[in-house]
Amino acid sequence: MNLKPDVLKKVIQSIANAHPNELDCDTCFQQIDRFAELTLAGKPADAALPLVQEHLAHCHDCQEEFEALLAALKAIKQDDSPG
């Protein structure tokens, strides 16, 4: 192997972050709708679902989808609010 230093640094960071209760993408996906609604309501989603929060911090694909879902929910809520 001959990794670029910045890539190896990220590898070591990911090793440092690994722990037994980590969620995989499918399990995160199961809970992301609840997480999104809590976030939208201004409730502490990270406290309610800390493992989801953690997975999103490490998984760019899931983070990207979560942000898009949240954007959709926010826009719809704004559209539908009276006045």
Binding site: M1, L3, P5, V7, V11, I12, S14, D33, E65
Partner: protein, 209 residues
Amino acid sequence: MIVKSNQEWLAALRSQDNEQALEELRRSLERGLHYALAGGVDDSQLEALQEDIAQDAVVKVLANLDTFRGESQFLTWATKIAVRLAFSELRRKRWRDVSIEALQKEDEGQEYTPAFLADSSPSPEKQASLNGMMNMVQQMMEETLSERQRMALQTVMAGQMPLEEIARRMGTNRNALYKLLYDARLRMQKRLVEAGLSPQDLLAIFDEK
């Protein structure tokens, strides 16, 4: 606009006379996709994409109705399914002409020179310390991990290609790839502990001035 409860949605979609509910679902998903994708998709392509994905999402939602746990609003749950479908399609199109090998060639490393030292000569001791650590960690990876795990770690951590697309090229799915990486990370964590090394100490070497 009449807002349906979760139970009302489920009952309407499960009934034999569900055309109206299906159309309502499709329209809602299209609306959600419009907002989810706006800004990330060219306006000229957005409408066609949201229409196509909304249709596919209705099918997927119907197929998975029994998995809805009622922990959120039904439309939130359905919209997340639609968003995932949309991003899968966008990633597939965006990355279809890019191979892992091409990315790996770009990632093959050179000796490390931190940016803050770019205008001065790094001390030989610091350079040697860093290079020695990097070689040691990579040697450990070669001894501890499978070739598949090493390749996956390298490609994912390079951060250029989505996990889903890397998984496709490896003949697997995103979730299986995440588990493969997770196993690799735990193995390396254990290996470092056995060697009396902490990841934090190794990371500190990158940042030494």
